[in-house]
Structure formats: structure tokens, C-alpha cells
């Protein structure tokens, strides 16, 4: 080891080697087409397997048959007969649950008494599988739409409350201090500092809540629904009609991807200030 630093070229006796690079990885970067490629590859594999016979028709329906079922569903007009009631249930139920969830979450975040009173309650109802309460909702709200709205609302409400008050708690206190130091009114501080500051957390809570809403939609349609994606899937399932089952599942997946993309759009709009 040389004791002194040499200028480049002053020590020709030592061999020069490039410093090995070791800083790669751990930095996810968007790779748009990879996700799609995985989908396509899996579907192609299933198609090939079912045609070649090493996947039996009882294991997995042929993707092209599922597509055909879907086209029939669309052409017979049944698609919208199922989709419209489902979307209505989803929108009404989620709107109620998310609305109440965000409002209560903000109140919990802002007022110590509300927090002390409601946080244990929320913690108690959070782990209840909401599906288990479906019979109860039927007794309370009847077998019609109201019990379905209630189930979806209840299921979206709990994650939304928790996400919202966590987000309010995480708002930078120095910004609130700043607002107070300029004599801003309480309402202004909440509206202009707390709410925008909590928005990232609220939106990621919304993402989870809406996914749960889609899961609960199927559960809600198990009881007394003649139309709806969930009812369609359940009927196909009880008849072991795998093509129709898969067609229904694909609709739910597409619904989920659409919702998620919609929230991504809202995030890019509202949170443009974050990098």
C-alpha cells in the first residue's frame, strides 16, 4: 500500500483496475409493458395447454371460450343488465362508507374527545369479517338493495377511517404551527393545511377501500340478487359452468384495474406537488 497519493500516471508499476460497480438495484422503475406481457404469456399458456390437452377442460376453461361467452353476454345485452345494478351498488355503498369514513377520520384526527371515544370502537369493528354480518343487515335493512349498500358501506368505512385519521396525524405539525403563527382561523388551517396534507394518506386508503368494496359486492349479491356480476358468478359456479365463471371474474378484475387507474389519475392530479 502506497502511503502517498499519486497523480495519475506517476506510478506506472501498479496495475490500474476500474472500481467495480455495486450500487445497482433497490430502485423500482416503471416498466409498463412487463405487466401486460405477463398477462399475455399466462393466457397464451392456458390456451395452448387446453388445446393440446395437458390441461383438462375441468381444470381450466379455454381462454378463447371465455372470450366467446363474454361476447355472447355482451351481444345478448345481459352484460349491462348485470353490470348496471352492480355498479350502482358499488357506487352507492362505497360513497356512503367512504364519505362517513373520511368525515369521522378527520374528526378523530382533530378532536381528542372524538378520538378517545371512537378509536377503540373502530379497532373493535375493524377485524370483523363484514360478510359474517350480512344476515344481520338483511334483518335490519331487508333483502333488497339497502342491505347490499349497508354491507359495502360498512366494509369500506373501517379502512377509510383508519387511513384518514392516520393521515391527519401525519400532517407536518410545523405547518400547522405556521398557520397559527399567521393568525389563520381554525377553519382555514383545517381546509388549507390539514386536508391537503392528509390527502396522500386519504387517497391510498381509498385505493384499499374500493378494492374491498369490489370483494364485498360479490358477497352482497349472494343473497337475493337476480342480477349483478356477483349473482352471475355465483350462478355459474353452482352449475360448474367454468366459462361463465371466468367471464364474470374477468369483469371483476377489469373493474378493479379501472378503479385503481382512476385513483392513479386523481393522485396525479391532486398530488402533483409531490415530486
Amino acid at each position: 500500500m502506497a502511503e502517498t497519493a499519486h497523480a495519475p500516471g506517476t506510478s506506472p508499476s501498479e496495475t490500474a483496475r476500474p472500481v467495480p460497480f455495486r450500487g445497482g438495484g433497490f430502485a423500482p422503475r416503471p416498466r409498463k409493458w412487463v405487466g401486460l406481457a405477463v398477462f399475455v404469456a399466462l393466457i397464451a399458456l392456458a390456451e395452448w395447454g387446453t388445446r393440446a390437452g395437458w390441461i383438462s377442460a375441468l381444470t381450466l376453461p379455454r381462454p378463447s371460450d371465455v372470450l366467446e361467452t363474454f361476447v355472447q353476454l355482451y351481444e345478448s345485452g345481459l352484460l349491462f343488465r348485470h353490470l348496471v345494478p352492480s355498479l350502482t351498488r358499488l357506487i352507492v355503498g362505497a360513497a356512503i362508507g367512504v364519505g362517513i369514513g373520511i368525515s369521522l377520520g378527520i374528526l378523530i384526527g382533530l378532536f381528542s374527545h372524538v378520538r378517545a371515544g371512537l378509536v377503540p370502537l373502530v379497532a373493535a369493528i375493524f377485524p370483523i369479517p363484514k360478510i359474517a354480518l350480512l344476515p344481520l343487515f338483511v334483518i335490519w335493512f331487508g333483502i333488497d338493495e339497502a342491505s347490499k349498500y349497508a354491507l359495502i358501506a360498512f366494509g369500506t368505512f373501517t379502512p377509510m377511517v383508519v387511513a384518514t385519521y392516520g393521515a391527519v396525524d401525519n400532517v407536518d405539525r410545523t405547518l400547522i404551527r405556521m398557520g397559527q403563527s399567521f393568525g389563520l382561523s381554525w377553519v382555514s388551517i383545517v381546509r388549507k393545511i390539514v386536508l391537503p396534507g392528509a390527502m396522500p394518506g386519504i387517497l391510498s386508503g381509498l385505493r384499499i377501500s374500493l378494492a374491498i368494496a369490489i370483494i364485498l359486492l360479490v358477497a352482497a349479491e349472494m343473497l337475493g340478487a337476480s342480477h349483478g356480476i356477483g349473482a352471475y358468478i355465483l350462478e355459474a359456479g353452482s352449475l360448474y359452468d367454468l366459462e361463465r365463471l371466468f367471464a364474470g371474474v374477468v369483469i371483476l378484475s377489469v373493474l378493479g384495474v379501472t378503479v385503481s387507474a382512476g385513483i392513479g389519475l386523481v393522485e396525479r392530479r391532486l398530488l402533483a406537488w409531490r415530486s
Partner: protein, 255 residues
């Protein structure tokens, strides 16, 4: 407007932070408060601005705030405290909106304070696009917009690199020369204190007590970087503080 502190003592639980601080901040002067970290400088500034109440003693405002003053006691924070979702002009307009100043009246004030802080070209930029020095100039512009009687500055330059700090000191001096505002300026940096302070209050380590008040008569506009007279003041201050700072540094933080 003058500020007077009378016998301020404070503790958090059993944790005594400061003891019997009595101090007068005359109008139109900059009073620097220096002291080792943890001696209660930020706490004292929060008392002066009414963000927190001391256990004992009181903070008095003497005289009326000048006409057109929207927020007599106005802070400038070390970490800038800008809303990241508002543009530069949005951050300034935030403090005007609550006073019902919008539209053309707000426009005039915003344009004026951004010009005074040389930010006119960045009015629509978001905080994340700005350097640290620019962010602090936005915070200064926001403070100027409410036409404060007293500026309360808590280590406003401590988060900046030393070149930026020099530039901003010059900015502060020229702003003061124009407006002669009253200021309480907390810092742990003695070079800043001798450049900006008409008087320098030296606090002991926790519990903070006033050890000495050093007056510097040289006009602010004449105080230059590396001035030998200022260096002498700075050395004197450091001799006063060295043992305190060493002792403060080897104390455990409370839990």
C-alpha cells in the same frame, strides 16, 4: 412596537428549561439570542409569539402596531414551513386570504414582496423546485406580506449552506435598512449574531438564564464579512459560551 419579557421561567414537567428571563426588545432593533443547543431559545421565541404560555412571567407588547399591520408578531422558521402544494405566490397569498385580501389588492402585495426578495421570476414555482436559500426567501416574503411589527426568527439560516447564508444575511440587512423592523433573531451561529444583532443576548446552558447582553453600535450596513472589529466581538462571545456549550454537549437529552 416594543416587546418586554418579565421574569419568564418555564419547565416541562420537572424538566426546567429556562429561569427568570427579563429582556427588553426595543422597536426598530434586532436582538439576537445565542446559547448552546437545548437552552430554550426556540421555546422562548414561542412564548414571545404567543404559540405557547410560560409557567411564570409574562410577555408584553408596548405600543400600537403600525397602520396596515396584519399580523404584528410574525415568525420565520428554520425549516421554512412552506406549504408544498402551493406555489410561491400561493404561499404568500395564504396569509392574506384570511384577512379578506384577495384579487388586485393581494396581487399588489404579492408582487411587491416577491420583488423585494428577488423572487418575481419564480412566482409560480412549487417549493420542491426551489433551493434552500430561495425557500427561505419565500418565507421572508410571506412574512413581509403581513407587514409585521416584530419578526421572530428561529435559526432562519441554519438549514442553509454557508455561501447561501452570506447572501441571505445581506438580503436581511438591506430589508432591515429599508423597513427598520423589530426582530428577535435566535441563532447558535455567532457570526450571524455579530452581523445582524444590535444587541446580543447570551444565554447559559439549560436552564437558560441571561448571562450577558452585548451591544454592538456599528450600523448594520457597515458590517462586512470578516470585519476585524466584529471578529473581536465574535471571539468574546465564543469565550463566554465555550464552557457552556461543552457542558451542554455532554448532557444527556431528557427522555
Amino acid at each position: 412596537m416594543d416587546i418586554r419579557l418579565e421574569g419568564i421561567s418555564h419547565s416541562y414537567g420537572d424538566f426546567e428549561v429556562m429561569r427568570d428571563i427579563t429582556l427588553h426588545v426595543p422597536a426598530g432593533r434586532i436582538v439576537c439570542i445565542v446559547g448552546p443547543s437545548g437552552c430554550g431559545k426556540s421555546t422562548l421565541l414561542r412564548f414571545i409569539g404567543g404559540l405557547e404560555r410560560p409557567r411564570q412571567g409574562r410577555v408584553l407588547q408596548l405600543g400600537q402596531a403600525p397602520q396596515g399591520c396584519l399580523n404584528p408578531l410574525t415568525y420565520i422558521f428554520q425549516d421554512f414551513a412552506l406549504l408544498p402544494w402551493r406555489s410561491v405566490e400561493g404561499n404568500v397569498s395564504l396569509v392574506l386570504e384570511d384577512h379578506g385580501i384577495t384579487g388586485a389588492a393581494a396581487r399588489a402585495i404579492i408582487d411587491d414582496v416577491l420583488a423585494r426578495t428577488r423572487l418575481t421570476d419564480f412566482a409560480r414555482a412549487l417549493p420542491r423546485q426551489l433551493s434552500g436559500g430561495m425557500k427561505q426567501r419565500v418565507a421572508i416574503a410571506r412574512a413581509l406580506a403581513v407587514n409585521p411589527a416584530v419578526m421572530l426568527m428561529d435559526e432562519p439560516l441554519s438549514a442553509l449552506d454557508s455561501q447561501t447564508r452570506e447572501l441571505l444575511m445581506d438580503d436581511l440587512i438591506s430589508l432591515w435598512t429599508r423597513a427598520n423592523f423589530t426582530a428577535v433573531y435566535v441563532t447558535h451561529n455567532l457570526a450571524e449574531a455579530v452581523r445582524l444583532g444590535h444587541s446580543i443576548v447570551v444565554l447559559s446552558r439549560r436552564p437558560g438564564q441571561i448571562r450577558e447582553i452585548v451591544e454592538i453600535d456599528m450600523p448594520l450596513a457597515r458590517r462586512a464579512f470578516g470585519d476585524p472589529e466584529l471578529d473581536l466581538y465574535q471571539r468574546r462571545l465564543w469565550e463566554m459560551m465555550r464552557d457552556e456549550a461543552r457542558a451542554a454537549d455532554s448532557e444527556l437529552l431528557h427522555g
